[in-house]
Amino acid sequence: MIKRIILSAIGACALALPAAAQDAYVVGLTGALTGPPSSTYAPAVEALRIYIDRVNAGGGVNGKKIQLVLEDDGAQPSKAAANTKKLITQDKAVLVVNASLSSTYAPMIAETKNAGVPLLFASGVCPQSVYPPADPLQFCTTGYASHFDSQATLDFVKATAKAPVKIGFSAMAIPLSRGEMDYAQDLSKTMDMTPVDEEVIPPPTADYTPFATKLKDAGPNWVYSWAPWVTQVRTLEALRKLGWQDEFIAWGHIEAEGDLARLKDDKFFVVNANALFQDALPIHKEIEEAAKKAGSKYPAQTMAEGWIGGMAIEAALKGAGWPADAIKVRAAMENLKIDTKGLRGGSIEWNKDNHFRTRLYYRVYRWSGDKIARVQDWKTYDVK
């Protein structure tokens, strides 16, 4: 008898859940919460969750709560595809968010296209399909973007270098990182630099020294790395162990601020689309307080990407009104302006053709003396 009552209760709850969900905006997220690259994605997802919780605590959007459904894909494409299917068919998500490695993009894009649900990339690198002319269903808030980042980095190297540049490259053995380093190598030749070597390092590697040895022996006076943070920073550290003392420049992922302070290396530059927390803007204080209040295990310094993703979701749902479906959300996202409150050099603007941003802003930081110093303020690049 008791068993029957429990089963009935469970059944009633299961039936009631979708009904409850209909009274809220359902946003589904699949991300690399575990697995090798999770140190880059998990903090962003945490930040996004904290942001949405804050929005809900403040009354939600258009008077309705946002129900954020989180799924872990471990950076595996097959899991990401299954998660996306579940989020769309079972949870009835009106917007799907990707916070995972680029290898998960293709299956997620296929699933969201089939269902006509918009897909937001909110901490993985922006795919070219969001650049003009953009795919109607894909949008991106992430700070880093292929080709533009290398252009900005090499511009900085050229402006800073005091001697002819002999540049080495370090990539992780994933298609996007390798492709970007190949692109940067070609670009460097057009900028009167001499590319000397490119090391493609498989993840994860027990010892980076053998790769660094080859790179060092090629004789670069600059090394550029555009890869997941672990590859960038471990290549640098291996080069330093080998006694290489020249300039190293890398993309400033969310872990950058902590490691700049840990390494205290004044020849280690990071190129950033996000303002570092040492700039102490009011929005940084807000994020720090929210992270503390939520009891997050991740440092607030790693939360800018996820926070901006949360801002985009809030703005999109606000524009879609209530009741909202995937079509309304997509329409709202096609005409959106997100005020990043200083987290970026300017606002993120999307239109029908451009789901990336109309302008990119880059800052460069390094360690200097006893603190992180800004060595280049926002430099702007138009996206056409």
């Binding site: 919460l33 575990t34 697995g35 090798p36 690259p37 999770s38 140190s39 994605y41 998990a42 903090p43 053995a173 090391e199 493609v200 390092i201 498989p202 993840p203 994860p204 590697t205 027990a206 010892d207 980076y208 020294t209 053998p210 790769f211 040895t213 080859k214 943070w229 672990v230 920073v233 471990r234 550290e237 291996a238 330093r240 162990k241 080998l242 006694g243 872990e255 840990r262 295990k297 991740y298 440092p299 790693t302």
Partner: protein, 290 residues
Amino acid sequence: MQLVVNIVVLASIYALIACGYVLIYRVSRVLNLAHGELMMLGAYLLLATASLFSGHPAMALAAAALLSLLTGALVYVFLMRKMTGEMVLAAILTTVALGILIRGVAVLIWSAQQQYPAVALGVANPSLSLLGGARISIWSLALVLTNLVVYCGLFLFLNFSRWGMRMRAAGQNPLLAAQRGINLHGVYALAWSLSTLTGALAGILMALDSGLTTSMPVIGLKAFPAALVGGLDSLAGALLGALIVASAEVLLIYYVDPLLSDVVPFLVLIAMLGVRPWGLFGTREELDRV
């Protein structure tokens, strides 16, 4: 010269991990596929002890090593003991499940972000100049020396101590060993403890050298071919297998293509399986196909 140093360091990493696989297989014929995770757990335990013994790195290291030893014994007592008498495959699958559990728990407790035990301990990692212009970091050197101490210690322990001889006896013929009054569960628990300790030492020293993430278990899997190449029931074989795999990896990175480093251990393994499936120093009779 730098290439020689690179080979020695990488071989030491693989050898230190591989001897954990060998210890358990040699005594109980179980392939411990959670060895990489136990190695990672050892490094996370150091992170925990570093905050407990702030300002006392030696105590933190000793405490982490002791906890790893204890973890190995607990894994045997609460998990693998129940597998005694079951199919070998069941025991292996149990270790797979254990690995998944450890990975999940590590993320829950320590989060997915990159950790630096050396920073927590307040110790630096300068590099030293060697002959011929080669350089090695302090923690890499410590790893090489630890590897030597571990292998010498295990050689002495297995050949000259009472418990070492019991372990060898249990590995050769458990039924006869039990009939002669050897406490098999004690021997197996000791093997798990020592295996976890050696793996943890590798994890701890790697984490001190270059940081710690939840992806560390994959490195444990990369060391597995070294054990197989040398022969799964031979410690000398693990040492030689590690040297062969590391040499192939480092030389191919430098002279051919860095991308090959990921597949080299497995290419060497396939070549060895084709020629001598029981490994360089493995025992032919004991080869068990799973």
